[in-house]
């Protein structure tokens, strides 16, 4: 099975405090730690496991800039066979639809049976996979937490509300968005990264992909971020101050009043 996994380089929210620049145009990016989007890591692991079971290859692709190469290498260190960088000034400012159009152009240059995305990325839109499938006219399933290859089809589980699982049969080729928890992504050590450090990663731009200028990027975006802002907080929490000991004493008192302690 030829599998393509779409991955994105994002600020790691578990590692960073996100703060907004004074003028609201962006978040402070200077000291951010970036990593591969959490969901995409599960997607890559799933692709590797499917390949190891049924054969074929795994390609990881990202729409980004030269710095995004590091996540392609990281996913190759996990076991992906190949990486492709899609980079061009014309891609900058693309909305989800733009990103999906760029990915679609790359997919149509290859011959893939299965395309995996993460369920969502840093801006929580959860849109690129579904858009991509619609553009390709391939079937789509989101929030996938189980994949079994059964002949020319897949039997998949989708996570739905309450932790229930919706089982489906889906034809190939298809696009699946992968939910966390589907597997346990393997650990990548510094050794693994070194092994792929000098592997050539091809970079494709708008010209290579036959994407008309103006059909992607900021000019084509139907959804534009106007600003970042800090909302007026509601009442917010009463923040307990003092030493650790004082905070605990105060909390115990409050909990007793609320019936949280006998």
């Amino acid at each position: 099975m030829e599998i393509l996994v779409c991955v994105k380089r994002v600020p790691d929210t578990a590692e960073n405090e996100i703060s907004i620049k004074g003028d609201g145009t962006d978040i402070e990016r200077d000291d951010l730690v970036y990593s591969v989007n959490e969901w995409d890591n599960y997607a890559t692991e799933e692709a590797i496991q499917i390949r190891d079971k049924v054969g074929g290859s795994v390609t990881v692709v990202t729409v980004g800039d030269s710095e995004s190469e590091e996540i392609l290498r990281r996913q190759m260190a996990m076991g992906a066979d190949k990486g492709i960088l899609l980079a061009d000034d014309a891609f900058e400012g693309s909305d989800g639809r733009g990103i999906a159009s760029i990915l679609k152009a790359e997919i149509q240059k290859g011959k893939y049976d299965l395309v995996l995305t993460g369920a969502q990325a840093d801006d929580g839109a959860a849109q690129v996979g579904g858009m991509l499938a619609a553009m390709l006219d391939w079937p789509y399933a989101s929030l996938v937490n189980k994949v079994d290859v059964e002949g020319g089809k897949l039997k998949i589980g989708r996570e739905i509300e309450g932790g229930n699982q919706e089982m489906n049969e889906i034809e190939l080729p298809c696009v699946l968005s992968i939910q966390t928890g589907i597997n346990e992504p393997r650990y990548v050590g510094i050794r693994g990264i070194r092994k792929v450090a000098s592997v050539e990663i091809p970079s494709h731009g708008a010209g290579d992909l036959g994407i008309a200028a103006g059909s992607v990027g900021a000019a084509a975006a139907k959804v534009k971020r106007a600003d970042y802002f800090t909302p007026e907080l509601g009442k917010g929490a009463e923040i307990l101050e003092g030493s650790m000991e004082e905070k605990i004493d105060k909390l115990i008192e409050l909990l007793k009043a609320k019936g949280g302690l006998k």
């Binding site: 989800g96 579904g130 307990l240």
Partner: protein
């Protein structure tokens, strides 16, 4: 002005809470709009769902087809692509169905798409201003959506409070317009979540741990505090994904809905999917080392500390 439609989620013939929320959201887009509810399904449960929708919307479009009996996103998208007129604004709940169906529909309708909207500031010409969040709720943004060729919008559950307004709408049967509903994804069955050894939904006090617990071995620290408090340990999703605790202990939209008196959020950032599983307005205590964590916006009491130091200290104090 664009026509506005709302996709109605329903189960066993009863419309979900989102039906009333979308009606409120539609008014924020255009106070004067006549909003049409679209209800898809099959048979008698569809009919009762349409009755429910008619209590909230002046017009209801019913689409009855055996292929729509279960809301398979691939099938519903096909029906909506046929039925929703070009240039319309369609509202859909941002739930596991909406995330599945809606992005692709925007492509089929050649409309704009904006997901997980938490606020709406109204239309200015064809530009709709909306509020979203990024980075797991740590940053808010205003977005400008070009609705000139229509828009598909998903709205975060719970973000638009129903205003109690009612209607006595009429139901129009649009089943004949849905066209061919064959799809390359076939729904098989729903597998119910496993029940675990503990029932966190019955606990009065929960000590709930998130990614801030850092390691499987540290779970015992939370258990010791819970024991000292007579509480039960629950958790956020990453703890279950990592297999440090069983799925039955997960609080949230894809886990359990809990109604404790006291909820102790330990190293939990406060994502909407997590908070969506906490009902009944408990007294929420948040301990987090990041003073900007979104959980502090919803908690009653906040403590900025390292939970790995705080929890043992509190256990000792109670001991």
């Amino acid at each position: 002005m664009a026509q506005i439609f709302a996709y109605i989620a329903h189960k066993n013939g009863v419309v979900e809470d989102s039906a009333a929320e979308l009606a409120v959201a539609a008014k924020k887009i255009d106070a004067a709009a006549q909003v049409t509810a679209i209800v898809t399904g099959s048979g008698s449960t569809l009919d009762s769902a349409c009755q429910g929708a008619a209590k909230l919307y002046a017009q209801v479009w019913k689409v009855d087809n055996a292929a729509l009996a279960y809301p398979n996103g691939e099938v519903v998208r096909k029906a909506l692509a046929k039925i929703v007129p070009a240039g319309s604004i369609l509202l859909v709940p941002h739930d596991t169905f909406g995330m599945d169906m809606a992005p692709g529909l925007s492509i089929k309708l050649d409309a704009a798409y904006a997901a997980d909207i938490v606020g709406l500031d109204g239309l200015d010409g064809a530009t709709l201003k909306a509020v979203r969040q990024e980075f797991a709720g740590m940053a808010h943004t205003h977005v400008a959506i070009d609705t000139a060729k229509g828009a598909v919008l998903t709205l975060r559950p719970g973000s638009f409070q129903p205003d109690g307004a009612g209607a006595s709408g009429s139901v129009t049967d649009k089943s004949g317009d849905a066209g061919d509903l064959s799809a390359k994804r076939r729904f098989l069955q729903v597998v119910e979540a496993e029940t675990g050894d503990v029932d966190i939904t019955k606990a009065d006090v929960l000590v709930s741990v998130g990614r801030g617990i850092e390691d499987a071995e540290n779970i015992s620290i939370a258990q010791e505090l819970a024991d000292a408090m007579g509480a039960v340990v629950s958790c956020s999703r990453p703890i279950v994904d990592a297999k440090w605790l069983e799925k039955a202990r997960q609080v949230g939209t894809s886990g359990k809905t809990v109604k404790p008196k006291v909820y102790m959020a330990m190293g939990i950032s406060g994502s909407f999917q997590h908070l969506g599983g906490i009902k009944g307005s408990p007294f929420i205590v948040a301990v987090n080392k990041n003073p900007k964590a979104p959980i502090f916006q919803v908690a009653d009491v906040g403590i900025v500390e390292n939970i790995l130091e705080f929890m043992p200290a509190m256990t000792e104090k109670l001991g």
